[in-house]
């Protein structure tokens, strides 16, 4: 539920399809943007898009990677045969960009547009609390540099649209006179497009002017996914890709799948499966604070996972969630033993004893492994029926022969972190 990045090809196709509506038909951009995904039948593409075989092409990965040119992830001025080879050589293979390694699985193929450096312009629209800001610079492209310092800006108060005249006056001072009207009309249309489709971020760097045509060469954009019920039809059937490099492990994918099957929320990110501190925290806000506290107390390297369960998942889902974490944490032993923090704040209306049922079931099932891995468990929780929940946990510790320390709302929420990590209060 938030601002979500979209693929470059989806953004460009949307512009090609709709910009004419927002400019009384005066601006048309040809829809020549092809997405190649892992399941695309590449051989069939030239029949479907005849221009692929006829024109020089550009190919780039299309999965939210910044500065692709600098990472040599850009093929320019190629014919279809080369493009096909280039994609084939990279599809489904890992690549490292900066510090992040991810698998390449989506590419955009589009016509190569020959132009001079002086034809490149920078345009961005950003959303702020008071309105939307248009940033423009008369020199765009890879080497645009510190755009925050350089760009001309036009703040558009919420609920209004800038006229072409506003745009010319405020933004286009450094643009050759003969191009001002063309660019001003384009920006005016793009702004309407941006606002009407509930974009929250749009950067085109560069767009180029050739003759009386404007072509966006490189685009990054975000949509407000909560506006799906308003703008979803105009967006077309798009999906929101995960950030580049977020490769889900088997267990993470499993929890994501569970999450999608329940109205409740189940989240899991494995940070370091060999680390000693595992958390199973109720509530999105509380889970962040537990992870913070582990970090702030200087144990970032010991933090094995981040995750949360909330929204009252039923016993079965809580059980499966707990089981996944217990399985992960008992696979390998650590000479100093391991910790499991079953934490949470004071619930509003969720019955605490009920939510513990699934966790208790999983703990019982993993009794032997927990003992073998020398796991110590800390519990802290409050809310409806918490006393019963905590009593059950205390009893369980005695039954299982696994040390379980149990605390309620009288103990500060994160105290169990220092108890575990520092061996005392």
């Amino acid at each position: 539920m938030a601002q979500k990045a979209i693929r470059e090809a989806d953004g460009k196709r949307m512009i090609a399809r709709l910009l004419k509506e927002y400019t009384n038909g005066t601006y048309t951009i040809a829809d020549r943007f092809v997405t190649v995904g892992p399941d695309t039948d590449v051989k069939k593409l030239p029949t479907k898009y005849s221009w692929l075989a006829k024109e020089k092409l550009v190919v780039k990965p299309d999965q939210l990677i910044k500065r692709r040119g600098k990472s040599k992830l850009l093929l320019l001025n190629a014919d279809w045969k080369d493009a096909e080879q280039w994609i084939k050589g990279r599809m489904s293979k890992p690549v490292t960009v900066g510090t992040v390694t991810g698998i390449l699985d989506h590419f955009i193929v589009e016509p190569f547009v020959p132009h001079a450096e002086t034809d490149e312009y920078y345009l961005a629209i950003l959303s702020k609390r008071e309105g939307d800001e248009i940033l423009f610079h008369h020199q765009g492209g890879i080497n645009v540099g510190d755009i925050d310092a350089k760009a001309a800006r036009l703040m558009v108060p919420i609920g209004t649209s800038p006229t072409a005249a506003d745009i010319q006056r405020q933004l286009l001072g450094n643009v050759p006179k003969e191009r001002r009207e063309l660019i001003a009309g384009f920006i005016e249309g793009m702004f309407k497009f941006y606002a009407d489709l509930n974009y929250t971020y749009l950067e085109i760097n560069p767009f180029v002017v050739t003759g009386n045509k404007i072509v966006p060469l490189d685009l990054a954009a975000k949509l407000d996914d909560t506006a799906e019920f308003v703008s979803g039809k105009k967006w077309g059937g798009i999906e929101f890709p995960s950030p580049f490099g977020r490769m889900l492990t088997k267990e993470e994918a499993y929890i994501k799948d569970l999450d999608s099957k329940t109205g409740a929320s189940l989240k899991l990110t494995v940070l370091n499966p060999d680390a000693r501190v595992w958390t199973m925290v109720a509530g999105g806000g509380a889970s962040v604070i537990y992870a913070d506290t582990i970090t702030d107390l200087g144990f970032m390297g010991e933090m094995a996972n981040y995750g949360e369960y909330s929204g009252d998942p039923n016993e079965e889902f809580t059980y499966l969630y707990a089981k996944t974490i217990l399985d992960l944490m008992t696979r390998k032993k650590h000479p100093k033993g391991k910790f499991l923090l079953i934490g949470g704040g004071i619930a509003n209306f969720t019955d605490v004893a009920n939510t513990f049922k699934g966790i208790v079931r999983a703990l019982k099932e993993y009794q032997k492994k927990l003992q073998d891995t020398n796991v110590k468990i800390f519990v802290r929780r409050g809310g409806p029926n918490y006393k019963e929940g905590l009593r059950v946990m205390r009893e369980l510790g005695e039954q299982l022969g696994v040390p379980i320390e149990v605390y309620g709302p009288e103990t500060h929420m994160t105290k169990i972190v220092s108890m575990a990590l520092k061996g005392g209060k």
């Binding site: 990110t269 999105g284 889970s287 604070i289 992870a291």
Partner: protein
């Protein structure tokens, strides 16, 4: 009513509209009102756009009160001029439009938007509009907030036990604001453990564009002389916290501020992470929690080293203010207890109550409907048929196949007997008078009695009494003759010993073939021999045959005692009623289908024999 100070949004007299029928939230507000010692309920009315005007019953402490319900916001505002708050439980689709509508009523000053997922652009439009009209929005995506001892928004604060534990029923000195609503219970708990308690707590909501910001509320708290210290919980992402840094630097905030920004763990993640809230994502270094915490500390806020000493720092500042006599701790007021809800008490096993009704045949409460102990899926899996269902629901056991088959045969045989019999006739007349299905059916059904359709029951009783008394068939026939009573189940209008009724042949044939024993049927056949020797149409008729066979069946399956109880209760009449309903409904549909008009009996078919004048 004295005008509220501009920094007061909610006080002990504030009344609100609740938009959408949120009965739980309303009851929780009223429970809070009771423990806070409010004189008037904090909910003036409910606006329910999908319902109609009326009232809804709620508890106000131990009493029950009626809260008005309006379909239109306009009617609510006209009837409740003093209301200046609307708590908007509309969905994310309609939250913006309904808030906009609320803005058109000058009396409504504060709107709390609960929904999560309001589009950002719509929200920004609302923010601009609110500014222009001098309105206050709290939310979206929030649980709301609370003014301790005065006013509680919706579900804030959790259960009433938690509200009492966190001392939210009476005011303290702390103004608290956070984005997260989920953590507000925890924060109020921390505040209550380390200070004299909360004065006001607001959760602005997790969206990127909350209607009011952390700073908006801190500035309000700054102006409120009853609030002595400020506590704030920020989070990674956005730049809201920097406006607080500026306000600290500009001395717009002078009261001690203890603040912590969550999300310091984001550095442990390699790729960009979206935490729970829409706004909680660091887009740049300045948006990280570490940078914000450092900037706040530099500007003079009390910033703990981690959330772990948040409470300690709050306590430290509080003690200092007490020492300086800025805060003078007040004696604890006597605590009021809200009566426990009956359902909660049942769940907690602290009360019990004798039930007014008992059912031993079916149960609709579980995963699956149960007939007896048999789940409905099993009913079909085992294909027990209507006879099986009837045997479970009537006789509390699944009878063997031969018996359930017999029940079905009885239903089939009694289903109809043509349009001329009195039950069908009455149904037809009622149908033609324009009555509905149930009235027409019942009209026919009410005809069933000793003379029409009642012979099944009557025959069963008469024959079994005679048989049980050890009378020979001849004695029985003679006895009845002397009493001048017709033997029920004997005799037919047209059928005779030479022209047997096929229905009787089928039923008695089946009984002879499949029943374990048929003593009563055999007895009846003997009786029939005597009666037909007198007149050849005095045969065992279909009603008698069914009734008598049924007694044989029930006695062999349930034992004589239990079987006779069912017969006394009228179970056999039930069989006829059940079967004949099929036919009566058929006649009703038939007449409707044929569009038959009102029936009027012809004069010449009635002999008018009035007394002479």
């Amino acid at each position: 009513m004295a005008a509220k100070k501009d920094y007061i949004l909610f006080d002990k007299d504030t009344q609100a509209f609740i938009y959408n029928m949120q009965t739980n939230a309303v009851q929780r507000m009223l429970d809070f009102d009771f423990v806070a010692g409010r004189k008037t309920p904090s909910v003036a009315a409910i606006i329910n756009p999908t319902g109609s005007d009326g009232f809804q019953k709620f508890f106000f402490g131990p009493k029950e009160i009626l809260v008005p319900v309006y379909k239109l916001m306009k009617t609510a505002t006209v009837n409740h001029k003093n209301v200046d708050v609307m708590i908007n439980f509309a969905s994310f689709r309609s939250a913006a439009a309904t808030t906009e509508e609320a803005f058109t009523y000058p009396q409504l000053r504060t709107v709390v938007i609960i929904a999560e997922g309001v589009p950002e652009r719509r929200m920004r439009e609302l923010i601009a509009k609110a500014k222009q009209l001098n309105k206050v929005i709290i939310g979206p995506a929030t649980v709301g907030g609370i003014v301790a001892g005065a006013f509680k928004i919706g579900n804030t604060g959790g259960t009433i036990e938690n509200i009492m534990d966190s001392k939210l029923h009476r005011p303290g000195s702390v103004g608290f604001v956070s984005k997260s609503g989920g953590l507000s219970n925890e924060a109020y708990n921390i505040v209550s453990q380390n200070t004299d308690g909360l004065y006001e707590g607001i959760a602005i909501g997790g969206d990127r564009y909350p209607g009011t910001t952390l700073l908006d509320h801190l500035l309000r708290f700054e102006k409120n002389p009853d609030i002595k210290m400020l506590v704030c919980l920020g989070e990674v992402g956005g730049s809201d916290e920097y406006t607080i840094v500026d306000a600290l630097k500009k001395k717009q905030l002078t009261k001690p501020l203890i603040m912590w920004v969550t999300g310091t763990c984001s550095k442990a993640f390699k790729t960009e992470v979206q935490f729970g809230h829409a706004g909680a994502k660091a887009g740049s270094d300045a948006e990280t929690a570490d940078a914000k915490n450092a900037a706040l500390k530099a500007a003079g806020a009390v910033v703990p080293n981690s959330f772990d000493d948040y409470g300690e720092k709050i306590g430290m500042v509080y003690k200092d203010l007490v020492k300086k006599k800025i805060i003078v701790p007040r004696p604890e007021p006597p605590a009021v207890k809200v009566p426990m809800d009956y359902n909660a008490a049942i769940k907690a096993k602290v009360v019990r109550r004798p039930a007014n009704f008992i059912s031993t045949i079916s149960d609709d409460r579980g995963e699956e409907l149960l007939y007896g102990s048999m789940p409905i899926s099993e009913v079909f899996k085992k294909d027990i048929g209507i006879g099986g269902v009837l045997s479970i629901l009537w006789f509390k056991r699944l009878l063997p196949d031969y018996a359930t088959k017999f029940i079905e045969m009885a239903v089939m045989v009694t289903a109809d007997h043509g349009p001329a019999v009195s039950g069908a006739h009455n149904t037809i007349v009622a149908t033609r008078a324009g009555k509905d299905l149930i009235s027409s059916l019942v009209s026919g059904m009410l005809t069933i009695g000793p003379r029409f359709g009642g012979a099944i029951d009557g025959a069963a009783q008469m024959f079994s009494e005679a048989y049980d008394a050890g009378k020979t068939p001849a004695q029985f026939v003679n006895d009845m003759k002397q009493k001048g009573v017709n033997i029920q189940g004997i005799g037919h209008l047209v059928k005779s010993i030479h022209n047997p009724d096929m229905r009787v042949t089928i039923i008695s044939g089946y009984a002879k073939k499949h029943f374990k024993s048929t003593p009563l049927l055999d007895y009846a056949r003997e009786v029939e021999k005597i009666t037909t020797s007198k007149r050849d149409n005095l045969i065992l008729n279909v009603d008698g045959c069914i009734g008598i066979c049924f007694v044989d069946l029930l006695r062999s399956e349930l034992g004589t005692k239990e079987a006779d109880e069912y017969i006394k209760m009228g179970a056999l009449n039930g069989l006829f009623v059940l079967g004949r309903s099929i036919g009566l409904i058929g006649h009703y549909l038939d007449q409707k289908r044929l569009k038959q008009g009102l029936y009027r009996h012809p004069w010449d078919d009635i002999a008018y024999m009035l007394p002479e004048k």
